[in-house]
Amino acid sequence: MSGHSTYNPTNPVMKWLDDRLPLPRLMYDSFVSYPVPRNLNYWYTFGGILMIMMVSQIITGIILVMHYTPHVDMAFDSVEHIRRNVNFGNVLQKWHAVGASFFFIAVYIHIARGMYYGSYKAPREILWMLGVAIFLVMMATGFMGYVLPWGQMSFWGAKVITNLFSAVPFFGEAIVTWLWGGFSVDNATLQRFFSLHYLLPFVLVGVVILHVWALHVTGQGNPTGVEVKSGQDTIAFTPFATVKDAFALSVFFIVFTAFVFYAPDYLGHSINYEEANPLVTPEHIVPEWYYLPFYAILRAVPDKLLGVVAMFGSIMIWFILPWLDTSKVRSAAYRPIFKQLFWLLMIDFFILGVVGANPPEGWWITVGQIATVYYFAHFLILLPLVGLLETPRPLPSSISDAVLAKNASKQPAAQPAE
């Protein structure tokens, strides 16, 4: 929170409150007068979108719990009951299920934005690391939520993922039995997942508050990667950023609700409409689409323990990203080689996703292994090296300069068209 507060209540009640608990002042300073860089583009609206998605998931989730029964004999039927009998349950259940997918779409864009513009660099390392923690909590929450409908994919997904812990040396079996509360995924497992699926979103809210706090301490990054130098470089959060975020949110929700209403099951698996059967594994087990790249990394390594290590490592590596990137320039806009590496990483990540969706046979294994090696090479070899070898393009002296230069070059070109 740069600069001192401009909050100046005129209403006597608000004045009285401000002297005792300055919560409105905090809100005003954080979300109204808060200065943001004037050159933020639409990639920077996903933080706000994620906030709304989190609230949307919590509200629909709390409602679903009013109608859901966490028991192996009734869970599957109770979800069908919600979809068929509960008033508006049809929409609410789909909103929650599709909402999980769109929560992840937004978070992937948000993370990629951070990687492209070097948002993780000093002084925003803690901000970035809190973001990685948020992503991990989201993954755990999404995984446990997917188990609750107790379909075939719920059950076998849960079994495979919890079995990852059996790779732990010496204590593996004991840990898995402890996680399951039995000798297999069963009622005890379902009930504890339900409990934790309700808890974790609130943990998420807590970490998100820290994330926003850290953001407001350092101030927002921006597409040039040049820090804010004067008041000329910023605009007030409200109305400028608020309106931009609201517009982006509206567009995002058009796509989101189109899926909710017209293709609610498109992003899921049809086999999950078959009730869980502990004796029959479906022909082809795949996690939800948002875990596929990491699943591909797990399967690329032909050793159980090392596969699990590689999978967790592929996310944990993000924690040290601020120190792996040796370049002093933040934004890829001024880093010609890094920019290409960034897009190669995106393609690599997409390929990993496709590999994760396909059976581990034939040349899919080879493709998965190559993509996995490239993924780690990007972070551990290419990123440190390119920072030292690359010659970045000259940075603008300030955000205002960059904006004005861009507009000046646009102006004459735009004229004839009008």
Partner: protein, 186 residues
């Protein structure tokens, strides 16, 4: 002043450490019930054994029974399958441990050590892939045994891992023959 303070500080350090130690022990004692409640409950542990009649299983057939929430595969193997299982050199196996609860720990993974002597046609094993817990499909894979569809592990006709990411042979649960054709698992 300072001469009087020196012994006091020692005493305080001791008190701090002692208080901290008691607190740590208390916290650890408190953690035990909070963590242990997640382990299998008495009712789960009680479902420990089942009896299975083997007589209806024809040669070349398998059945799957549920024991402790997991599938147990019982296969009546053909002579050819037994032949194949016996022909394997144990030194060539990825996992050379029999993984049989009924023989001594660390026994070699020979076919003899995976079944009961005199009943070599019946293979009783957990239908839980040792990789990540899927149920392997019978009569599939490159070794005529089982194939796990999840991550591509191949098991042979003795349930031993031959190829793929699974680290161990399919475990043989504790079981015994109650009569000529009846077994008790668990």
């Amino acid at each position: 002043m300072s001469t009087a303070e020196a012994p006091d500080e020692d005493r305080r350090d001791f008190l701090y450490i002692a208080t901290g130690a008691v607190g740590a022990v208390g916290a650890a004692a408190l953690a035990v019930p909070l963590i242990d409640q997640m382990n299998p409950s008495a009712s789960v542990l009680a479902l420990a054994s089942i009896e299975v009649d083997l007589s209806p299983i024809e040669e070349g057939q398998s059945i799957t029974v549920k024991w402790r929430g997991n599938p147990v595969i019982i296969r009546h193997r053909t002579a050819k399958e037994i032949e194949e299982a016996k022909a394997v050199n144990v030194a060539d196996l990825p996992d050379q441990d029999a993984r049989n609860a009924n023989v001594a720990d660390g026994s070699a993974a020979t076919d003899e050590n995976r079944v009961v002597d005199g009943k070599t046609q019946y293979l009783v094993q957990m239908g839980v892939c040792t990789h990540l817990g899927c149920v392997p499909i019978g009569n599939e894979g490159e070794y005529d045994g089982w194939f796990c569809p999840c991550h591509g592990s191949h098991y042979d006709t003795s349930g031993r891992i031959r190829k793929g990411p699974a680290p161990e042979n399919l475990p043989v649960p504790e079981y015994q023959y109650l009569s000529d054709t009846k077994i008790k698992i668990g």
